[in-house]
């Protein structure tokens, strides 16, 4: 069995991705969790490139690793939570029940993956995943959701200011 470059790159990105994702939920300090999340977003962008989703990979770094994470870190520093604010985690029994639920969900997903026809790959168009191809779909097939998204972002901006501001 020959190992292709795609497989090597996949594991190079997938293993640190899972490791940093576990780091997000294992760290008690929100700052460490945020740093792990930034790393996870970068590794995920690498996986997106492997899937020939170049525009989405770029947006992943720009929007997630850039904007959203700056927002998270900004809020963490705004709240200036000291060590006394490190939150005591729930009882071991609750964590076990949560882990059991996750295992069951992954088992359900595994049976779904087994039924999906995953090995037949379509031959891709030359401009698959580029700004041009995705933009064309966005502005024709998905024009209404695209406009609604702009409205959603406006509402989110105004809503965030209204909720977070003490006095307007």
């Amino acid at each position: 069995m020959s190992v292709t470059a795609e497989q090597v790159t996949f594991w190079v990105f997938a293993i640190p991705l899972v490791a940093t994702a576990i780091g997000v939920i294992m760290s008690r300090s929100p700052v460490y969790a945020a740093m792990n999340l930034v790393a996870a977003f970068f590794f995920l962008a690498g996986i997106y490139v492997l899937l020939v989703a170049h525009l989405i990979a770029f947006m992943q770094i720009l929007v997630y690793a850039g904007a959203v994470m700056v927002l998270f870190l900004f809020v963490i520093m705004l709240l200036s939570l000291g060590d006394e604010h490190l939150i005591k985690e729930p009882r071991r029994a609750m964590q076990l029940i949560g882990a059991l639920g996750v295992v069951l969900l992954v088992a359900v997903l595994a049976s779904a993956i087994a039924q999906a026809r995953t090995s037949e790959l379509a031959t891709l168009a030359a401009d698959f995943g580029t700004v041009k191809a995705v933009g064309r779909v966005l502005y024709t097939q998905f024009l209404l959701p695209f406009e609604v998204t702009s409205l959603l972002l406006l509402v989110a901006i105004v809503g965030a200011v209204v909720v977070a501001k003490e006095r307007i």
Binding site: L51, A53, L55, V68, V75, V102, R117, T118, A122, G129
Partner: protein, 99 residues
């Protein structure tokens, strides 16, 4: 390389995010776990877009990213408001509606 690998990765990522939502009590880490779950959904969309050669999956992933950004902005504003009124961001202590 079959997209099965990517789907497995996405389900593992979703499981990790779900575990975080179920077991963490820090509101900020809770929201980061939600972001992980959204990213896992995105990865699934992109994997199936790769399999069928249809760019529509990329458009959906685009919308998921936009919605996640809006969710993060509003959610963090709520966290700030809760911190102002209660001085804590432990989600177990925030149960005004159930009392």
């Amino acid at each position: 390389m079959p997209v099965e690998y990517y789907l497995w990765l996405a389900s593992i990522l979703f499981g990790i995010g779900l575990l975080g939502v179920l077991t963490k009590r820090n509101a900020l880490i809770l929201m980061m776990s939600v972001e992980l779950m959204l990213n896992a959904a995105n990865l699934t969309f992109l994997a199936f877009a790769r399999r069928s050669g249809d760019v529509a999956g990329h458009a959906i992933a685009f919308f998921v990213i936009a919605v996640a950004a809006a969710e993060a902005a509003v959610g963090l504003a709520v966290v700030i408001a809760i911190y102002r009124s209660r001085g804590a961001i432990n989600v177990d202590e925030v149960r005004v509606l159930s009392e």
